[in-house]
Symmetry: C2
């Protein structure tokens, strides 16, 4: 490529983009550092309305050969992935020839849980000479800091619920399940499964509506934490303005995440939404012992 | 009372009846033993269509004084409760004077989880001279035996899923949450919260429909186990024909429960439903170590 590199030698960054606004927050952060970015927008996941604002290529999940070819043309050696791609079925993929040659590895990945899947994908990229870079290393400003976003503060009972939630997540972590629970006045109202955080919060709103939840409205905390031993590079828990809105709709008191290990999409909007809904959003340390 | 006791001296049995068919299965079992039964049908929970076939009195939850008065008139010293009463709100109760005097205890009960609630209710009855008897001691034939009900047998992967489910339930047990999980090809598809087993199974059917579950249909096991340290007298996990139908609708391979610690409502109908749906229902020992 004859083009002058604006980053003074650093390779262009390939960003494989799933759903949501995070890919664009990451692209903006990398661009602010003077780095050239090339988006690989996953069909069915990446937001078509926003991809157009960046240098980009569309791809199906599984088009690994196509990715490697374009990445080489674009001078990308570093690659990252960000944005949600919730459990794609094997049938929803369009594996090309190079991808098919990874098939034995891929099949193995699908037999484990998320942890295994992520680690497996990382290994496939690295085997082909790409350097995987974690979003949090590219843009540490995307991580939740210690303390609150917005004006709301947890009360004493909320802190107890946060502790219990973190302890429960430590207990379920070896089982490779969700990264979120809801605890209200010491009672566990939900443990996240493949439905994801949003649907879990919607379930709480519904269970309240039909009278299956005993704790009064305004009590309870959504607690999110990364799984122990998880490959933190690519699957950190994430919250955004929508998480705040659904937490408020579920009539909970707030959200607690692990500081330094949680990505916040659009922190200003998260803070504004939390203030509007009068709930707290706090980053806490998770270094307590198991109960 | 001038009436001749058909049980040769054993006191009449007061059965406080929640929802479902279990109260009547228990009443029939006690009657088969020649014991006189008096049903205390909880308004809003007990099935009005079936209560009429037994000597009975209707009562609201909270009418403790009324219960004690009628129980004395009826010559009941033994009392049991059976049938589901899912987390009644304080507002849905009609506490009478004697109940109000238990209020400090009751309030404390509502601050813990199910375990605490059940233990608390038991203590209140015992304090007033009633002898609490467990359904399983009255009618051991209601308990799931080791082995299968119906013709279906687990395959190798199913046994692995059952093991993982039991291990997960051991891990979550200290948190006083649900007694059921669904595991499919080692992946945890759901952990039961206050929604109960039925709604959890419906959720899996829905998540399959919208493509959030990666494992193919026909794989996965509903695993139910009593909580460790739970007061097993009154809150054993329960399955019935409806559980089988919903497990089949969720496209799972079968149901595993802990033998000797699970109540089966209408075992013949459970077996018939399992055969019709081609799923297995198995009672297993839960004596494995934590993972």
């Amino acid at each position: 490529m004859s083009e002058q590199r604006p980053d003074g030698g650093q390779s262009a960054l390939a960003i494989i983009c799933g759903a949501g606004s995070l890919p664009f927050a990451l692209a903006d952060a990398a661009a602010r550092q003077g780095r050239r970015v090339v988006l690989f927008a996953l069909r069915g996941w990446a937001d078509p309305a926003r991809v157009g604002a960046y240098p980009h290529h569309w791809a199906w999940i599984g088009q690994f050969g196509r990715f490697m070819r374009i990445a080489a043309q674009e001078g990308c050696r570093d690659v990252t992935f960000i944005g949600s791609v919730t459990r794609p079925s094997l049938l929803s993929m369009r594996p090309d020839l190079l991808a098919l040659r990874q098939l034995p590895d891929v099949v193995r990945m699908f037999r484990g849980g998320d942890d295994y899947l992520l680690g497996g994908i990382a290994r496939v990229f690295e085997k082909h000479g790409m350097r995987l870079v974690a979003p949090k290393d590219i843009a540490p400003e995307l991580l939740m800091a210690s303390g609150v976003l917005g004006l709301g503060l947890p009360r004493e009972q909320d802190y107890a619920d946060i502790e219990r939630g973190l302890a429960l997540l430590r207990a379920t972590s070896p089982f490779d399940i969700g990264q979120a629970v809801v605890v209200a006045a010491n009672q566990v109202l939900a443990v996240e499964g493949p439905e994801g955080t949003d649907r879990m919060l919607d379930r709480i709103a519904e269970l309240r509506r039909i009278g299956r939840i005993r704790t009064p409205p305004g009590i309870g905390v959504l607690v999110k934490a990364p799984k122990i031993g998880q490959d933190h590079r690519f699957d950190l828990p994430t919250i955004g303005p929508d998480t705040v809105d659904r937490t408020a709709a579920a009539n909970l008191a707030g959200i607690a995440v692990v500081a330094g290990s949680t990505i916040v999409a659009e922190p200003e909007r998260v803070a504004a939404a939390a203030n509007r809904a009068k709930i707290f959003v706090i980053g806490v340390a998770d270094d307590g012992p198991a109960p």
